[in-house]
Symmetry: none
Subunit: 229 residues, 4 copies
DNA sequence: AATGAATGAGCCTTCATTCAT
DNA sequence: GATGAATGAAGGCTCATTCAT
């Protein structure tokens, strides 16, 4: 792998500014985990060869084992180390907000949706769903630590909005699903079949429209609601 | 889907004239493809061993190769031979119906949702999404022959409903996604993370609630907005 | 290293009357185990590649796994399936004999020594000793099922001979060791360093001389036999 | 062994004139070789990782390569550097002694046996035997430089004892084997299967008994001693 | 001299695929 | 047509060896 650089003279090819060799060793696990997540997302667990991850991370196959004990550990690390940001972001949204619940709900929705549109976190979601059958522990972890918690956050806001009369009184659990589900699916879609659609989906618009329809529904506006046929 | 679609599954050539033994050989490919689909759905493509499929189909491993040239062909056959029913059902729904569009839409919605709640067809959907990265052709096939066509069917009905004033004038494409997406996600969910939720989801109710919220939205009744039910 | 039952090696039970292709499939495990034992003896466990065993057995590497679940199981099978003959032979020797004990002892000695001079069984003994540290269970098995049992057989005969006045009254345990130990070492020696001796050892003579010296000792003829110390 | 024997362990070049720091660098190779021998003895050559040796020696893995060019060189160094003491001790015994040969023989026997009961030297013997197949050169070295030389020492003493009428006239070579073999086997045994015996062997007693039986044999006290054959 | 992160060749093991019966 | 024993290519993992610091 090392071509010409047998000489002791430092090759000037790397314009590595100040900290000469510090970044590499420290960044290694992070780079590896990122490469792993990407490859796992693209190919699935079983079809991913450690060679692929290593190449993408710019290291040799053996190096992976300096940081992760085996393929499964690498998989779980890729999953777990990207789980927390989602939860933290959501919980902070709730904690920080005071005021009208519907505004909070919308803000929560936008932030959470944005996080799922992130290539990494969205890919993570798709990966876990695709591999749930083979990694029960990781699946359970994801459900309990992410799905249920975020759902719970949304539900509290929805219930408050209902109590305040800002939303129709409906089963909160179902309402939350109605809000979250299209975003989750979009996230999965973007990492699977979206590439095969003739025209790319406008994500921004999708999120906007969903929020609109979520609030107003599809029926015509009451006042001028026309008679059916 | 009109093309006769024999594809990878070789038709049992030489119709043996003897009616006694015809059923078995003819049934073989079907049994194999069913076993294959089930195993692929449960474990994913790479984690599925041909041994598993053979055992589940009640045949030997070598027999698989009498009908399908290799693992990938078996996968594609499993996918393709289960694609048609969904489309056919949907297209028939539209063709047969005459009358109020909203009623047709609801009927279409219920039938299509029911078909996705079928363990096999729902699993198929999840499978294709999970393996999209490794089987571009199959993914493209699914998008073009299933997703786009069903979407198109829905869109025509939605557009008619809008033209008739039964639905608010909105971007039809988006409206269709708003209707379909939660069902698709539910289908994926049931074959992945649903098992790790504390309480099982009531599918029937979910479908009902989604239709309700899809129509009415979440905001409170403007003044005389009628309660549903 | 746990030896929790190999069992992968199918017993060639059911002698299936049909002579055509019987020998090969039924002989396979035996051929494999023989090749394995030989290679393990020559190179030791870790330095033995399954490729070597397969080549020596005339099969492919994958075939080994049709009969033995992994390398360790193959090792243990090689050991265990060659253990019983030694014990059986020895126990039969005792059971069958009646008459003067010293004659029985000599007969026992010759038979047991002959079995250890067998290339396979002698190699087995050397192998177990060489790998004892890495396969405690197999080592314990060998000690308990072979070493202790044979030692016990010898001891009973020696004790009878002492009781009959045919041997000096000495600690039987030690006497047995004095008799067995050179043979055991010879067996190990022939499978390790013997090849590097300038002149090959005459095994027959060694066995004869040992029996003679075992009986008479090295001191000059009686009459003037000095007390030791 | 007269050759100065620097062999694989490179002498710390440039004797640094400064006495304070000499001991450490000079002690390094010795510490490494000791750690290597111990680990090789415990686990065998192939199962020994250089990591283990380095850790036991208290150095880093790379440091091993400062003193030994590779694993095999380390093995051979571990063997060779522990060979000399045994021979030297034996040769000195003979050279220094004058007087009755039988006394010398016993003294020689005791010293040599004691050296083989040393955990390191005994382990070395077992190690060489176990790995003989993989290290012909080392095996040959051991046979020629140790086995044959010690055997020769013993033989000279035995021959003298026979010439003096202190021992029966028998093939000296065989007599020497009769004397040495149980000790060698005991040494191997202690480093392999001894741990799996129910009761630990009393080494001291074993050595005593062997000497006794070696001299007197097993037959009852003279007077009625029967001719053999 | 000493370190230890990095490497990559090599081996065990699996499993899709073949073929003689 | 059907079987299943046999194959061998491929991939996960280990560890001796190297090299920049």
């Amino acid at each position: 792998m090392n071509d010409s650089e047998t000489t002791a003279a430092p090759d000037p090819s790397e314009p590595d500014a100040n900290p000469r060799w510090q970044r590499r060793p420290q960044a290694r696990p992070e780079e590896i985990v990122r490469a792993a997540l990407q490859t796992f997302v693209e190919r699935g667990y079983a079809a991913t060869r450690l060679d692929d991850i290593a190449r993408l991370a710019g290291v040799s196959k053996g190096t992976l084992y300096l940081y992760y004990s085996n393929k499964e550990a690498l998989f779980q690390a890729a999953v777990r180390e990207n789980l927390t940001p989602v939860i933290v972001a959501a919980e902070e949204s709730v904690a920080q907000h005071h005021g009208a619940s519907l505004v909070l709900l919308e803000q929560l929705y936008r932030r959470w949706a944005a996080s799922l549109m992130d290539p990494v976190l969205g890919g993570l979601c798709k990966l876990i769903i695709a591999e749930a059958g083979n990694f029960p522990d990781t699946a359970r972890l994801y459900v309990e630590e992410v799905v249920l918690r975020i759902r719970s956050i949304f539900r509290r806001v929805v219930e408050r909005a209902m109590a305040d009369g800002e939303l129709r009184p409906l089963p909160a659990e179902q309402v939350v699903r109605e809000l979250m589900t299209p975003i989750l699916f979009l996230s999965v879609w973007r990492h699977s079949l979206a590439a095969y659609e003739p025209r790319p989906l406008n994500t921004e618009q999708f999120l906007e429209n969903h929020w609109d329809m979520f609030l107003h529904g599809l029926l015509p506006i009451p006042g001028n609601r026309p008679d059916r046929k």
